[in-house]
């Protein structure tokens, strides 16, 4: 690539921004007794390093599960163990059993930040760069611009570096869409084993690969491929879970830790359907617990089914990416016990379609960052979040000139508006409406940020409602676009409304 230096510059810029953000405060800094996610990660290092593998997921006198018990799949635990070895080498106090609880120091913060940066540098950033290089039908310049935008996406930077949470891989998507199916499925299995939330993406993966097998013919090549894929999946899972397979109780306990169904429908302020409906209707009080689970399960399934069926029948990398978006979004909107941070799982695939539908993706990514504002405010990260959001916005606006690309074709809403025009011949103002909506929502976000910062917390509820409102407008449109050309999908849009 003749413009490798620009790509290098982009990567370096991304790294610089990440590191400068990491100089800010972190989740739960100086807030005993529970601290925050930062302490959780440190605690995991302590546990994995000091306890035998069999006790990691069990409550014991050395491992109080109420205090940031390990609730991520085994791969995360192994990663913690690896970091713990490094920590042990630098300063054993950081991970001493019991005595290191709530350990905080400048050097330790530096160490923790460095672990994130290195993980990012080794896994996430190469994946982004490769993804952008593999994009077809766009110029080199656009590829670089695309990489810049993805790397500057503030949500991930702020949560990983500011709030403290380890990033996850998008190697799977990359592998599968580049036709390296085995590598892709291996990477995706690892991702699932790293963080169970990755299951949000599992359905499109499954459908896409299945569709590919069908396409090649179930009796010949397709079957071979299917067996190979199944083998990869089983092998990688077995490898990760090997230490826990010795006893039945072990494996069950891990599973129980991973899927804590007994929490609640949603945590405090998540921008999904349940939370916004509960402004009018207190679902939590009306429906019993198990009904909530069933309802949310059914709705999720219903909402993601059309896209998945379509993908299975006509597998294509592009459709795959769009289905990833819509599936993750349905999970986020309808499923049980969603955390604000889960929006990142939606944002990641949205980043992948950035070059195809720049306007909508930018809009979505901005809103998604904004939806995490309460979380960021709690951690005193207002400053970096405003700055990075603006940077992201500027990057997207200049590299894609998003405001000029709002015609119906660019928005992938052609078929939709054509079908509406059958009933309403004068329906030609869609692009303009969307442009206005965008500006209105940006202004609302700015105003809301100002309000949440300046006004007292008790008035948060009305704010939140409007947050959700702008949110919903957005999610509806993005759901709609994923199903372009597919009539079944379109039925979904009014349903979401």
């Amino acid at each position: 690539m003749e413009k490798w230096y620009l790509m290098t510059a982009v990567v370096l810029l991304g790294l610089t921004v990440r590191w400068t953000v990491s100089l800010n405060s972190y989740s739960g800094a100086g807030k005993p007794p529970m601290f925050g996610d930062y302490e959780a990660q440190r605690h995991w290092q302590e546990i994995t390093f000091n306890l035998p593998i069999k006790q990691w997921y069990f409550n014991s006198s050395d491992n109080n599960l109420q205090y940031w018990g390990l609730d991520y799949p085994p791969l995360t635990a192994y990663h913690s163990l690896l970091c713990a070895y490094v920590a042990q080498f630098i300063n054993p106090d950081w991970i001493a059993l019991h005595s290191s609880r709530g350990y905080e120091s400048q050097a330790h913060k530096l160490f923790m930040r460095a672990t994130v940066l290195i993980a990012d540098l080794l896994i996430y950033i190469p994946a982004v760069v490769l993804h952008c290089c593999c994009l077809k039908e766009i110029s080199t310049k656009k590829k670089i611009a695309n990489a810049l935008c993805i790397l500057l996406y503030p949500g991930l930077i702020l949560i990983d570096y500011g709030h403290f949470h380890l990033g996850l891989a998008l190697w799977g998507v990359l592998g599968v869409s580049c036709d390296w199916d085995l590598l892709g499925s291996l990477a995706f299995c690892l991702a699932v084993n790293y963080k169970q939330m990755e299951l949000y993406h599992s359905l499109p993966f499954f459908c896409f690969l299945l569709g590919k097998c069908f396409k090649k013919g179930l009796k010949g090549k397709g079957f071979v491929l299917f067996v190979k894929l199944a083998g990869t999946v089983v092998a990688s899972f077995t490898l990760c879970w090997l230490p826990f397979f010795t006893e039945r109780a072990q494996a069950l306990q891990v599973l129980r830790r991973l899927f804590p169904v007994d929490r609640g429908l949603f945590e405090d302020k998540v921008a999904n359907i349940w939370c916004s409906v509960s402004v009018f209707l207190k679902i939590k009080d009306i429906l019993p617990h198990h009904v909530q689970i069933i309802v949310s399960f059914c709705l999720t399934l219903l909402s993601l089914l059309p896209a998945c069926v379509k993908l299975t029948l006509q597998p294509s990398p592009k459709g795959f990416r769009f289905t990833l978006v819509s599936c993750a979004l349905s999970f986020f909107l309808f499923s049980f016990q969603v955390h604000e941070k889960s929006i990142l799982l939606v944002s990641l695939p949205v980043c992948l379609v950035l070059s195809e539908i720049p306007f909508m993706s930018t809009w979505f990514l901005l809103v998604s960052t904004f939806s995490m504002l309460p979380l960021l405010l709690k951690d005193d990260l207002l400053m970096p979040s405003v700055v990075t959001t603006m940077a992201f916005f500027i990057a997207c606006a200049t590299s894609f000139s998003i405001f000029e690309k709002t015609s119906e074709e660019e928005l992938r809403l052609k078929s939709f508006s054509v079908s509406v025009r059958k009933h309403l011949p004068r329906f030609t103002f869609l692009p303009r409406i969307i442009q206005h909506l965008f500006i209105i929502s940006v202004i609302t976000m700015v105003l809301l940020t100002l309000m949440t910062v300046t006004l007292d917390p008790p008035q948060k509820l009305p704010d939140l409602f409007s947050v959700l409102d702008s949110w919903l407008i957005n999610s509806v449109t993005s759901l709609r676009k994923s199903g372009r050309g597919d009539p079944r999908q379109r039925e979904e849009a009014p349903f979401t409304r």
């Binding site: 940077a391 500027i394 940006v442």
Partner: protein, 539 residues
């Protein structure tokens, strides 16, 4: 505090929105991008210069003018010219809305979070002038090379080189100083000279001199250029001077401008009979030959040579250990030291050396005028020569050569190569300014970002000409990598750390001194060997 800057943020979002809708303006995106990066740097380490400027805010705010240059509660007394004092005075009237406490002279080392925010934002906001100046400079770059690609246009490259300059970023926004808007003034005055608006250029430079007197270093270039190319309105066909074309009106108007600016600045102190005190503050010759850490100039090599010779002398028993002064440079942090083998250097010697180094370039400017570009070369040579031989030179002064050199670099392949050597070594020599662990990745990443970009983009720009570096230069520049690894990652773990703590600093400054001397030399050679421009442009 929060409210304020969130409002500002909101305003700039609106501005950005309105501009972006008008079509992708790359310059604005670059400027805004770097501004946001500066905002991210707010919580980073800041040096004692932070306290220096806070103290000046307090002095100018709470004391009458007559006290400004006498006040000495803090050790960081006011030692910039009056305009800068007025600038601090103006800032202090905004500062009082942030935190009244920082304006108390006796509140030493006060740094509340609001103070930090105010000071950092004051640097970021005044940088607007720098951005404007860069914009003007970009207009002066002739776009002969018509490229379709935006990223290969000289204008684009120049604006990145200036706006995203590594040195300015770390000196102003991490280390803390107000160089941005001062360099903005300088670049603006250079741009005005390029645009043939000489009076404005002279005025801006006079103002600049009264902001910070370090720019006196480049004053000879301004003086001679204005005299030769502005006061003499015509040349003979062979380019030599035509004496009868001298315009008294122009000379007088120039003189008047400079005089009025100086009167405005120094007048009040003249009236108070305080000029000697002001000057003693501005030119403190009591300080040592080298700054706390050796700037990579001729004297760094000289000192290192002295050190090496004394060690050899001790080994060979040629020197008597008892006669060696105790305060020799064991720690690199000593302000003054005596040389053991080589003769000691006095301020007068450095002054003479500097003058000798500057003279050829001045002669060249007078006898071989090459228009504004020739002036720019002379200006850079003045800055570099005084950096090489000056008294108590600070390593930050290298920016005085690097920034104007960026303007030249996009014009000619030879200049580009000099610029790259100069900027890379000069920027690397700034590394010891930031010695705290959290800033280590920032400085390395930003340095890589700037260096890789500048080298590759200039290479792309001049790809049709011969390669920018020969093998020796390549080898030298690549050597900076291992040097950094040794100084920051290997040395702290060796046993020498306690015994010879000065080694990394010494290595850095000597190694960089070699590169900067080389660049200086090469620039001089290019000035003398370049053919004169056929016709000197007439007014």
């Amino acid at each position: 505090m929060r409210i304020k800057w969130v409002e500002c943020a909101a305003l700039s979002v609106m501005a950005a929105l309105s501009v972006m809708t008008g079509g992708g303006s790359w310059f604005l995106a670059l400027a805004l991008g770097v501004t946001l990066l500066k905002c991210l740097l707010i919580p980073t380490y800041h040096s004692t210069d932070f306290e220096v400027h806070r103290n000046w805010l307090a002095i100018t705010h709470s004391l009458p003018i007559s006290q400004w240059y006498y006040e000495a509660t803090s050790e960081w007394t006011l030692d910039y010219p009056p305009f800068f004092a007025w600038f601090e005075y103006a800032l202090s009237h905004v500062a009082k809305y942030f935190d009244q406490e920082m304006l108390n002279v006796h509140n030493l080392n006060y740094s509340s979070s609001r103070t930090l925010l105010f000071q950092r934002f004051s640097v970021i906001f005044t940088d607007a002038l720098f951005v404007y100046a860069v914009h003007e400079c970009c207009k002066c770059v002739d776009g002969k090379k018509a490229c379709k690609e935006l990223t290969e246009k000289p204008k684009f490259i120049l604006s990145v080189l200036l706006l995203w300059n590594f040195g300015l970023l770390i000196v102003d926004h991490i280390h803390f100083q107000y160089n941005g808007f001062l360099f903005g003034l300088m670049l603006l005055s250079i741009a005005r000279l390029f645009q043939k608006r000489h009076m404005e250029g002279a005025f801006l430079f006079a103002v600049l001199l009264h902001f910070k007197h370090i720019y006196l270093y480049v004053a000879p270039a301004y003086g001679i250029y204005l005299l030769r190319s502005y006061c003499f309105t015509a040349n003979k066909p062979d380019g030599s001077i035509r004496w009868n074309s001298f315009s008294f009106v122009r000379l007088i108007s120039l003189g008047l401008t400079v005089f009025l600016v100086s009167a405005l600045s120094l007048g009040p102190f003249l009236a108070l009979n305080q000029l000697p005190q002001v000057f003693s503050r501005l030119f403190p010759f009591k300080r040592g030959l080298c700054h706390a850490y050796w700037a990579p100039n001729f004297w760094a090599v000289y000192n290192a040579l002295d050190k090496v010779l004394s060690v050899i002398g001790l080994q060979l028993k040629l020197l008597d250990p008892k006669k060696i002064p105790k305060a020799s440079m064991t720690s690199g942090l000593v302000q003054q030291f005596q040389h053991t083998v080589l003769p000691s250097v006095t301020p007068l010697v450095t002054l003479i050396c500097t003058l000798i180094a500057i003279l050829p370039s001045i002669f060249c400017l007078w006898f071989k005028p090459q228009g504004p570009r020739g002036f720019l070369r002379c200006l850079i040579l003045c800055a570099l020569s005084s950096f090489m031989f000056g008294w108590h030179v600070h390593e930050k002064a290298i920016l005085l050569a690097i920034l104007p050199m960026s303007l030249l670099s996009v014009g000619k392949a030879g200049d580009a190569s000099i610029f790259l050597i100069l900027s890379t070594t000069g920027h690397y020599s700034l590394f010891p300014l930031l010695f705290t662990a959290p800033e280590l990745p920032i400085k390395i990443l930003l340095m890589l970002l700037f260096t890789i970009y500048s080298i590759s983009s200039l290479k792309t720009l001049f790809r049709k000409e011969k390669p920018l570096f020969n093998w020796m230069e390549t080898f030298y520049l690549l050597g900076l990598g291992p040097l950094e690894v040794f100084c920051e990652f290997v040395f702290p773990f060796t046993s020498w750390k306690l015994k010879y703590p000065f080694i990394p600093l010494l290595l850095t400054s000597v190694y960089c001194a070699v590169g900067i001397t080389y660049a200086w030399f090469k620039l001089y050679v290019s000035v003398f060997t370049d053919p004169p421009v056929g016709k000197t442009k007439k007014q």
